[in-house]
């Protein structure tokens, strides 16, 4: 996938996730449907990183640059935390599950897990973004360089 497309996908994922996290602003139904959208975009994100993941995984315990190893550990942690956020969100769903006629018998524990893991996911997301800052800067440079100036587009 081209860098520009990957950057747009990742930036959209980041922004949608931040919006979805603001439940006071969105309300529960929008929060839940946005989260479903986030899950789909995360799968797309993982697909774009498939080759890198397989490559690092195959060399993880052998000779591997320590930064790549750190990336892999943080990415794995993010995957687990994100799965926990989605799982707990699914179990305390107030909008989507009832829409399909399912009742939700899960109580306080999963609500707190959802809130705590959601907050923690932002911290891990911050680390994930921070570790990729060079790629982000380079992608922004490329995207802005490829974008024609308003005058020349006329």
């Amino acid at each position: 996938m081209r860098m520009k497309a990957r950057f747009i996908l990742d930036a959209a994922l980041f922004v949608i996730y931040l919006i979805a996290m603001n439940t006071d602003g969105t309300g529960i139904p929008v929060h839940e449907w946005l989260s479903v959208g986030v899950a789909i975009v995360v799968i797309m994100h993982l697909l774009t990183e498939w080759e890198w993941t397989i490559s690092v995984l195959s060399r993880f315990f052998r000779r591997l640059f320590s930064l790549s190893r750190l990336h892999f550990v943080v990415d794995t942690l993010l995957f687990v935390v994100f799965t926990l956020v989605m799982l707990s969100g699914f179990l305390v769903s107030q909008s989507i599950l009832p829409l399909f006629g399912f009742s939700v018998p899960f109580g306080p524990t999963w609500r707190i897990i959802h809130a705590v893991s959601g907050d923690f996911s932002l911290v891990v997301l911050g680390v994930h973004v921070g570790l990729h800052w060079r790629w982000i800067v380079s992608a922004v440079k490329r995207v802005t360089a490829q974008t024609p100036a308003p005058d020349s587009a006329m």
């Binding site: 687990v80 932002l122 680390v127």
Partner: protein
């Protein structure tokens, strides 16, 4: 076809991780409200959540147990209320007493602050590791 297989692997991995997390949470963090009180995992969760909500409103855990299950409203903010959220019984403790909600930091802003701090720390860590890597490569080349 290959993409479909990859999607299947990702979803399958998520399901396996979910099952593991489900078993872990149900076994270690369940809110067993029996005579023995809460599980240690649930107590830990409550304390964590309370600390995130301003610290000063965090009740002592003994108080919560003594209240017979009455839960503070801030816990209900996690996306819903607890059954029996109102303090009940003669031993009920008003653990949100004196809490001024308007004085508490906006949670979304606080979360964004955590994200930003984590990103800055990661950037610094990345810079240090890159420099160390470069130095090692230079040494190896020499």
């Amino acid at each position: 076809m290959q993409t479909l297989i990859k999607v299947f692997v990702i979803v399958a991995l998520s399901v396996v991780v979910s099952l593991g997390l489900y078993v872990l949470v149900e076994s270690q963090f369940s809110m067993s409200m029996g005579p023995g009180g809460f599980s240690p995992g649930f107590a830990f969760l409550i304390k964590m959540r309370a600390q995130e909500n301003g610290g000063q409103i965090a009740p002592s855990f003994d108080e919560i147990q003594a209240s017979g299950g009455g839960m503070p409203p801030f816990l209900a903010g996690a996306g819903g209320g607890f059954p029996g959220a109102e303090p009940t019984g003669p031993k009920a403790v008003a653990i949100d007493k004196g809490f001024d909600a308007s004085a508490a930091p906006r949670e979304e802003l606080k979360d964004l602050e955590h994200l930003a701090i984590a990103a800055v720390i990661a950037i610094l860590l990345e810079l240090v590791l890159s420099l160390v890597g470069k130095a090692r490569r230079k040494e190896a080349a020499a």
